[in-house]
Subunit: 208 residues, 2 copies
Amino acid sequence: MTQATSHTGAVKAHQPAEPDVGEAPEAPSTRERILNVALDLFTEKGFDGASLREVAERLGVTKAAIYYHFASKDDILMALHMRLHEFGKDALSQMTEGPVTLERWGKLLDEILGQMLAQRKLFLLHERNQAALEKLHREVHDAEHEDIQDKFHRVLADPRVLVRDRVRMAGSFGAVFAALFMSGDAFEGTSNQELGDLVRQTVRDILV
Amino acid sequence: MTQATSHTGAVKAHQPAEPDVGEAPEAPSTRERILNVALDLFTEKGFDGASLREVAERLGVTKAAIYYHFASKDDILMALHMRLHEFGKDALSQMTEGPVTLERWGKLLDEILGQMLAQRKLFLLHERNQAALEKLHREVHDAEHEDIQDKFHRVLADPRVLVRDRVRMAGSFGAVFAALFMSGDAFEGTSNQELGDLVRQTVRDILV
DNA sequence: GTCTATATTTCGATAGAC
DNA sequence: GTCTATCGAAATATAGAC
């Protein structure tokens, strides 16, 4: 086997020789180019609907080349999952203990909104491939690897918080989510700045 | 070929001999039992992740038996899609013309909320199999068969309505959706009545 | 690192007996 | 209406040359 095992994505195993010091926005490595194409394709056609042959073709290489960089198709999905996890871990650590009040939730959501705007594609991938991701999650069960969605559900199920407030917490998240990911291209002509502001105002009206 | 072609579901082709007059809640036909199992399985594991072998096994029959009732796996998905469409067509016809104001949207969403509570499973199936459904939709392109999601997007893209209001329309829908479908079993202990009321109040705060 | 094969598996779908 | 048996296609994954 080759080095095609780590799905961290953050810690590049031992790629060619990318100078760590360079400041130029160096061309993405093949590994990253694979991930970028996979991200698009898995989102467009779904994880199961998109074949590695298609990924390879759109990239101009062969399937075998992909298998040099990744151990399996699942490994590619996992690497993309970890990409999102990188961004989410800050906000995640904040809901680690104590009941989450409406106010805390509001601040949290504000952070998440920013990340969602910046990482739209990754969130969309997750929304549209929940089944595949759950299966993957079941198979590895990464021990202490606490998932974003898990924590989200746990907060919403916390009996120390009024149901009324928890429904509003869920609702405010849904409001953000729908505006960004369930509206097709209805707000394509709206800038991220304006869209973000409008959504934030909506959230405030929910959480008071 | 057998009668396994119609994916209307509403108009049963020519099943055994179910007396149309009977008042007893007669046992579901095999066709419907297949649909029910498929609904569960397609939602749990995704349309692509669930095989017909699994559907057959859980039902206690063989694959071939399924093919007597349905022309293809896609046909089963289409039949489930039509089930939802049946419920949605009333609300659908209401957003057929003229700009949708916040007030109209509020009334519309109120109806939809009721249907969502009653048809939870069907909505969840659609949420988790968007890719497969889009592919199916592309292949048949049922002419005038206007899809729910299409109309939803069109309303949100209507330039005659303020962006601010459209974001709130999208957001209010998302609030409903998240409370019912993205919260895991956080509100499992809450009755549909109470949950519905709490959600309605949240929606009102968004739409003012 | 990328290529040309090819192995392996799984699934959707069909034929034909009962 | 349901069964057994099988076909054909497509996809993941591997072996080994360059």
